[in-house]
Structures are given as structure tokens and as C-alpha cells.
């Protein structure tokens, strides 16, 4: 497989704290990958290692076919999570400077900066100082700074934070545009909706370890909620009673959008749905307005994974804290035990 980024057996610790532990990751060229994980999972550390801003204690990272990002910095665009602008610099001068640093020649840098400012509706602000811009405007300027040199690989860390819905939409369009231009894009985010909308591949890390690395469709399949949503035309409580009696049904919950019918692991969702429709169509029931197999959202997968692992980890965490206090424990082994 042709990988834009390939991470193998990478580990990075800061003092006692293991930020990334034995991480393996392949990012196919031309893909748009969402990189998710709870706060402190090691996302930014991983990205910084990919950028060769910090270096792994162990393991190997190849970026765009080179042994390190050092040799291909000008072909990578990076929007860090901790990002800023020179407050006293003029917007166009700042963009030109960054473009120059990324190897764009002076004439082209000025032209591209002007084009991009036009594209994101900031052309009027080119001569203003960066500090005079709103936070959303600064975000857009920083995004331009990361793509102005037309990189092959684009790494965006928390690109949606601090943007209003209109600018989020603009940002989605810009990212999609870059994707269609054939660039490999990795973006880390807490915005699950955006990730779901944009990504064709998701990887998630938790406690420095990879927990998901798959195309979105595969994730939906793997984390199928085994839930059917039925919206009866008649009263909910009567329908609830009927649904609960169907074979293969484990639990029925009433929600505003309908009844959430959980089916047993060995039951066939198709036949349960057919049964439900026929039962609810018989009088005195008044029929079914809508019935569907619930599509699990990325957010639910995320929360499930974090909380489930959190429960498993709870006991171990206490042990870990105690042993760190005693100064003898290796956090890695505790996490490893927890995940096994």
C-alpha cells in the first residue's frame, strides 16, 4: 500500500507519562483521515512526531516516503493546535513570510496570499495587523498559512475549534477541495459531526494506544448498535408493550423520535423488523410511520469506547496511581493489562 505516513512501533514518554505507546498506523495516500481521541490521548504528540518537531523514543516514522518530515517539510502543510500569528505583522506580510519559509518564491508568495485571502473573504483585511482580526478570521489566516505552498500532505489539528457554523461550513468546503485535489489530509478533531461528514477513514487513540483504524463504513458495521427505531402512529405505550413481546427483542425504550428496540445478538434484525411491522399494523394498533435500523454515530462509538475502557481501567487506574506514588510502576504495563 502506498502510504503518505507510516508509523511503526512508536513510543514516546515525557518523564513518567507515556503519551504514545507502541503505535502503528498507515495513512494511505490521497485519503482524508479523521484522527480522534479524548483529551490527552496523545493526538498532538503523534502529530508533532510526524512533523519531526519532537522525536519518538522508539519506533520509526516515514513521511511522504522520506525517513523524516525534516526532509519533506516543504511538502507538508501543518496547522498546529497551538497556533498563533505575529500580532504586529500585517496579514499579507505574515502569509508571505510563512510561504517563503515553506519554499515558495517571493513573487508567487505574494500572489498566492492575495488569492487565498480573496477566496476566504478576507481580501479587505490584507493590510490590517493580525491582532486586529477576530478569532475566526485568524483561524482562516492560519489555515491559509498551512496550505499556501500546496502541500501533498496536510495535517490539521483541531481545525474546527472556535469557528461559527458558517465558517465551519466554509472550512469543510476548503478541506474537501484539498481532498479532491488529491492531497492526503489528516485532521484531528473533537468535532465528530465534521469527522463523519468528511472522512473516509478514522483512527482513534486512547491512552496512547490505537483503538480504531478503519474506514467509516467498517466502523459502522463493527459498532452496529443492534437497535431498531420504530415510530408508531398510535400511542407509544401500547406499541411498546407489543414490541417487547416479539421474539429476539431484549429491551424497548421510549424516546422522543420513537421506540428504541434492542435486539439480541443472535437475532436477525430483518425478521425482527418484519415482525414488528406486521404486529403494529394489526388493529387496535394504528400502524407504523417509520421503522429503521439505527445508524450508529461516530460520537456514540467514541463515547462507548472511552467509557467502556474507562470502566475497565477504573480499578487499574487506582493501582497505577498508587504504584506511581511508590515509584516502581511502569504505566505501560498497567495500560496493557487494562486493554487485554
Amino acid at each position: 500500500m502506498n502510504s503518505a505516513v507510516s508509523i511503526s512501533n512508536v513510543r514516546k514518554a515525557f518523564g513518567d507519562k507515556v503519551a504514545v505507546d507502541d503505535l502503528n498506523l498507515e495513512i494511505p495516500s490521497g485519503s482524508l483521515c479523521g484522527f480522534i481521541g479524548p483529551n490527552g490521548a496523545g493526538k498532538t504528540t503523534t502529530i508533532r512526531m510526524v512533523m519531526s518537531i519532537i522525536f519518538p523514543d522508539r519506533g520509526d516514522i516515514r513521511v511522504l516516503g522520506k525517513a523524516s518530515a525534516m526532509e519533506s517539510k516543504d511538502r507538508i502543510g501543518y496547522l498546529p493546535e497551538e497556533r498563533g500569528v505575529y500580532r504586529k505583522m500585517k496579514v499579507s506580510a505574515f502569509l508571505k513570510y510563512i510561504a517563503r519559509l515553506k519554499g515558495v518564491d517571493a513573487a508567487a508568495a505574494g500572489r498566492k496570499a492575495a488569492e487565498w485571502l480573496e477566496r476566504v473573504d478576507l481580501a479587505d483585511n490584507a493590510k490590517r495587523r493580525c491582532e486586529e482580526l477576530s478569532k475566526g478570521m485568524q483561524q482562516k489566516v492560519q489555515f491559509i498559512a498551512s496550505v499556501i505552498h500546496e502541500p501533498e500532505l496536510l495535517i490539521l489539528d483541531e481545525v474546527f475549534s472556535g469557528l461559527d457554523p458558517v465558517n465551519r461550513k466554509l472550512m469543510r468546503e476548503l478541506i474537501d477541495e484539498q481532498h479532491r485535489a488529491g492531497r492526503t489530509i489528516i485532521f484531528s478533531t473533537h468535532a465528530m459531526y465534521e469527522a463523519e461528514q468528511l472522512c473516509d477513514r478514522i483512527f482513534m487513540i486512547h491512552h496512547g494506544k490505537k483503538v480504531i483504524d478503519a474506514p467509516l463504513s467498517e466502523i459502522r458495521h463493527r459498532f452496529d448498535a443492534r437497535t431498531i427505531i420504530v415510530e408508531p402512529i398510535g400511542p407509544f405505550d401500547e406499541a411498546m408493550r407489543l414490541a417487547a413481546q416479539l421474539s429476539g427483542v431484549v429491551d424497548v425504550q421510549s424516546h422522543r423520535d420513537g421506540l428504541h428496540v434492542t435486539i439480541a445478538d443472535n437475532a436477525d434484525p430483518g425478521s425482527v423488523m418484519a415482525d414488528a411491522v406486521s404486529v403494529l399494523n394489526d388493529p387496535p394498533s394504528e400502524g407504523v410511520r417509520r421503522i429503521e435500523r439505527k445508524r450508529i454515530s461516530l460520537e456514540e462509538v467514541f463515547i462507548d469506547l472511552v467509557e467502556a475502557r474507562g470502566e475497565v481501567l477504573a480499578d487499574h487506574d487506582r493501582a497505577q496511581i498508587a504504584s506511581i506514588g511508590a515509584g516502581s510502576a511502569d504505566a505501560t504495563t498497567v495500560t496493557a493489562r487494562a486493554s487485554s
Partner: protein, 487 residues
Amino acid sequence: MIRKMFDVAVREFSATVLTKAFLIGVFLPPLLMIGAVMLIPALMNQKPPKTQGRVAIIDQSGVTMEGIRAELSPERMNATRDERREQAKKIVSESAPGIVPQAQMDTAMDQALSQALGDGPSLTVESLAADADIDAAKAEIPTTRSKRDLEGTDPRLALVVVPARAVRSATPETEDLAASGGERPTNTGQSPGTFESFELFSAPTLDIEVRRVIERAVERSIIDARIAAAGLNAASIRALISTPDSKSVTVTKSGERQTSEVAAMLVPGAFMLLLWISVFTAGQSLLTSTIEEKGSRVMEVLLSAVSPLELMTGKILGQMAVGLLILAIYGGVGVVSLIALAMGEYINPMNLVYLAIYFLIAFMLIACLMSAVGSAVSDLREAQALMGPIMIVLIIPMMLWMPIMRNPNSGFAVACSFLPPISPFVMVLRLGGSEPVPFWQIPASIALGLACVVVALWATAKVFRIGVLMYGKPPTFRTLLSWVRMA
């Protein structure tokens, strides 16, 4: 790699230099100096207005009137002024002999002094009767505060009352003699007894300078009258109690040479100060720009394009250009003004070359410290804690100025010349001095300095690489050292 460092350096330089604060801070002091040099003569050209008027004398002693009249005569007053001018010239040329060629200085000083002294007052002495009413005489002195009101009139500016006792002391025997109108004693071995003082009433507009002229004239005539009353010759006594001014000469190996304390201290000190200001200004702005990049979180954006080493080197080079600019501006103004004052001989051209080399060493060492601190802290307040010790180190050369200049080749001075980071400052100080520095010490201290620069750059690169992305707990010097050991 080189091009990126150059881009960083250019931005660093222009972002520092093209700010109002920098332009004001760097260009204003020399401009003020030049302004002052041009403005002071203009101000001095405004001579004090000529004082014209009468000085009334009530001479109760009966023997001082002619003396006062002579002292206040125009001829006498011009002579006094010439005398004072000569004295002033002598003082200046003795404090810095040989700095300025004598002839050139004479004309310059003459101009300056005649401007400062102005035209002498033109006073006419008005003799009042010995028994005249003092209050009535006082009433004639105009009390107006504006000199303009007195223009064109011939006002009574002052009233001097010389009592009889001012000349003849209150000892009983002279009292008797005066009373009996008998002969004055030709020789008095005994104490002259107590004298009374004279009284001077003056107009509020009277210049202090003119007042002093009148006071001196009256004093001199009273003393002359006393000497005459004692049967002695005033002129011969004056000749007896004065000596010509002494001359100070230093004996050295190369022969006698006139001492120039001022130049010997000031020129090397100025060299060191020049080095200090340029190194410190550039170092300070390196610190603030690094902190700004970290504080505004632009750092990681930059690190996506350049490596920490490239960034650090570029920043140091940019600020070095800033330091060199300051050095060139201040040094240039200094050298040009010394040459303009015909003091060019006090600058050895080789010393300017050494100044540039030692600037390089001093700046690099300070820049390393500043980069390390700037990269490690999150804001200026945190930097202050780490800057304390660095500032103390930087102040040391200032405190060593006097001891080293007094004894430039002492063991202590030589030791300080090999003690980074103060060694460049000490060397510049010693090289500028009049006592020659043993030649081997120059290449040796340069070699040591460059070696230290290499080590400092190596250590700073490590601190910088870790520090720039580190936020949170303010670091201590121990943390910085552990970062040096870490990678």
C-alpha cells in the same frame, strides 16, 4: 536551510528595527546629543544684557572711595575679565592636556568664554557724603523687577556703605590714634583686632554676577586701605602671596608625557559601554521576540516550516545585525565626533577591528543565554526570574571599569579577560586603555571566546528545541541544564 535562516533573520531584523520604539530608543539619544551640541552655542550666544547704572558709595572711612572707583573703572574690569578667561583656559587644558591642539582650543575657548562672560557691566561710581542719610540713599534704588523698565535710564543699582571700622579695627590703641588724629602706626606686630564689614544694598534686577563684581571691588579697596593704613605696600604684598600655577607631568618609559586622566579613563570606558549597549539591546530584543513567538503560539507554525536550529540561528543572526546597527550608529557618531574634535589620535583603528570581534563573541554568548531563557519561559514575568542572575553577570564589567582601568595589567584584570562571558568587555576596556596589553592575550582570549560560543550554541540549541514547545511550570536553571543533558 541557509535560505530559510536568512528569511528568519531578515524578518527578525525588520520586525525589531522597524518599530517606533526601536527608532526612538536608538536614534533619539544621538540626535539629542547632536541637538545639544548645536543648541548650546546658540543659547550661549544670548549674552546677558549689559548692565548700566550707578553705584552709590557712602564712605564713612574716608579712604576707600578712590580704590572702589578705580576697581570699577572700565579698564580695570576688562583686565579682570581677561585674567579670569586665562585661568579658565588653564583649568581646561590641564585636565585634558594634548587632547586638543593648543591654538585651536584657544580660539574656541575665547569665543565660548567671551560669550559666557558677556560684556562687562558699565558702572559709574557716585560718591555720597560720609554723613549722608542711608535710608534716603536706599530709597533711590529702583524696586522694579523688570530690567526693561530701567532701559535708557541711569538707575542707581546699588548702595555701598563702608563704615569707618571696616578699615580701622576696634583696638583701643588705633581708636585713640584715630580720635587724636595722630600718626598711623608704621609697623604693627600685634593683632589688628576686629573689623566691621561693609553693607551692600542692591536693586532686585541686579545680576548676581554684577553684584559679585561690586562686592569684590569693595573688598579689594577695603583690604588695600587696611594695608595702607598699616603702612605697607599693597602691590608688593599681593606679589608675595601668590605663586604661578603648577604643572603635572607623568614620567614613563617612553619619556615624559602630559597626563590625561580624563581621556585615559573615558575612551576605554566608552568603548566598553558601546559594546555593552549594542550587545544588551540586541540580546534583550532577542529575548522578547522569542517570548512573543512562544506566547502568541506562532512558534509551532514556524516549526512546521523550519527546524528549531534554523529558527534559533536565524533569530540570532537577525538580532546580531540589530546589534551591529546600534554599534555602527553609536560608534560612528563617537568616532566622527572625536575626529571632529581633533581627538582622532585617541582611537587606534586596530581597536575598532577588535571591537567588532569582541562584539561578535559577547553578542553570541549573551544571545545564547537569551534564546535559552526566551524559549523556556511562557511570558516576560517568568523570564524575569531567570534574567536576574544573567543581569548580575552583565553588570560585572561595569563595576570592574574603574579597578581595571587603574591597573589594566594586574593579575585580576588578566583573569577577568579569560572569564566568559565578561571577557570581551574586559578586553575591550583594556585594549582601549593607554597601557599596552601583552599581545598573546588578544588571540588567546578570542580563541577562548569562540570556543565558548560553540559550546554555548550547542547547549542552547538543545534547550531551545525542548523549550519552545514547553508550556506550563516556569523552568529554573536546573531544568534548563537537565534539558541540555537530555537529548
